[in-house]
Structures are given as structure tokens and as C-alpha cells.
Amino acid sequence: MKKFIIFLLTGFIFLAYGNEIIIKDPWIRAVPPSSKNTALFMTIVNKSDKQDTLISVKTDIAKIVMIHKTVEENGIMKMKHVDSLSIPPHSEVKLKPGGLHIMIMGLKRPIKEGEEVKINLFFKNSGNIEILAPVLRR
């Protein structure tokens, strides 16, 4: 019985650690009230021993949310669609202006500087992670 409890406990600990995705400093860029598009930036930290993958992102404020990467080619800024985003174990991936970002397209209403927007991030292992991202002018 003791063995079984220990086995169960280690299993739980393993599970808890296995899902350890932390979202640091999420923010949405404040854009003019007339703008239909904006972007979400953040740092995704994977503290677990397993690779995790960001599969999709959802928010109520926009019609479409996609993972994108801005790439510079000979001075031309190009948008590349990324199907999913892998976060290797014990590492972090930074989403920042001019690089990887979550593109929020077709805003249903204007977003205001200072407001917090609910975002759902869906990871392959960790499942749904809900965050509040402030709208910042930066």
C-alpha cells in the first residue's frame, strides 16, 4: 500500500512538473481605435523536462488569432504564418515586436490602453492556459 501511495505521489509530482508552462509579461500593443489588427507579445517559459507546443490562441475581442513571425529580408518586413510554436524543455521563447508574435486580426471593438484582455493559449501537453494581457503603448 505504501509503495502504491509513493507511486501515486511521484506520479502527481511528475504530472505537475510536466505541465509547467509559465507566461511572462504578456502585453497587447495599443493601436489606433480605427485599426483592425494588433499583436500579442510575451515570453513563454517551459520549466518541464518535456517539449511543449503552442497550438492555437483564442480571444473574444478578435475574429482571427494566428501565430506569426516578422522576418526581414533585404530590408523588407515579411509576415510568415507559423503553424505551431515549440517550446523546448527548460527554455523560453520570446515573442517580441519585429519577431515572433501572436497576430490578432479583425478586432471586434477598439481596444483601450490599460485594459486587460483575456487570452486562451492552447498547448499540446499543458492544455488551456488563460492569461490576462494588458494593452500597452510601447
Partner: protein, 197 residues
Amino acid sequence: MKKLIFIFVLLIFSFSYAYQFYGIPYLQQVNDFSLINQDGKKIKFSDFKGKYLLVFFGYTYCPDVCPTSMLRISDVLDELGDYKKYVKVLFISVDPERDTPKALKKFISFYDKTGKYIVGLTGKPEDIKKVAKQFRAFYQKVPVKNKEVGYLVDHSAYIYLVDPKGIIRMIYRPDNDDPKRIAEDIKQIIKMFGTGE
């Protein structure tokens, strides 16, 4: 004319010893053109003679690059302090089909609440094309699967510094966008070549 260019280049290089420019030195006369401003009025490039200009090509639907650059430009204006009055910003649309004067007005007022410093320019697609060619600016529509978004526009994202005579003096690459340093360049150039007034 060649002699004149040589002297200008020499001047820039000799001053560079005293002050290291942040931008990439450039020298090119921009020929006059006319486009439509945010109030729907026809406006000529030569109407801005006498002012230092920061020129940027972008579009109001732009999700990442243009908002970043426009915020930096807005910060440059703040950093300029007393020198701000010698400078205007031209935001030239590379998406004239969607960027109506009204849309431009709403867009630029977010980055310049006073409405005094940033000018939005749009026009016929063929006119925009000619202007972009002069600045060697590139843009291309990229369709997006979702019909509601329609398309995005890949584009070059340089900030051009034009002097009061309509000559491009400096270029800033997208990763060269420190507002303090761009403002310092502008101050130095104004000190060298005068206010233009």
C-alpha cells in the same frame, strides 16, 4: 552638380569624426510629387520644403511593423524638444485601396495628438508606386486565407530623413530605431545645415 555632391559627402564624413551618426548616411534628391493628405486635400512634396522630414511607408492595417515604427517616430518627436518645430513626419500608405484619407486621419492622430507634426498621405495606386520607387521602397500584397482580413502588405520599413531641400540624408533600418539616437542625429544635422527656415 557632381562637385556639390562631393563637397556634401566630404562634409558629412568630416563631421562624422566629431559625431558618429546612428543612421546610414545617404544622399539623394527627391523629385516633386503630389498625393492626397488625411483631409482629402491634394498636397505636393515641395509644400514641405523648409522642413526636415521623417518619411515612412506603411499601412493602417499593419499589425506589427508599422505600429512599432510609428510609436518610435512619435517618441523621436518627443525627444526633439525645441527642435520639433523644424520637423514633419510623412506616413505614406502602401495600401491606398483601404487607406482612405479618413482612415489615415484616425491612424495618425493616435501617434500625434496635436495633429501638427504627422501627415498621412495616400493617393492613386499608380501615384504611390511612383513615389515609392523614388525612395526605393518596396511593397507587395500578401493574401491571407481568411476572407475578412483579405490581405496584408509586405513592405520595406526604413525611416528616411529628408532635409529642407528635399534631399534624403539618412536612412534608418527597422532595427535601428532607438528614438533618442534618431533625435540626436536630427539635432546634429540641423546644427550643421541649419533649420531650413
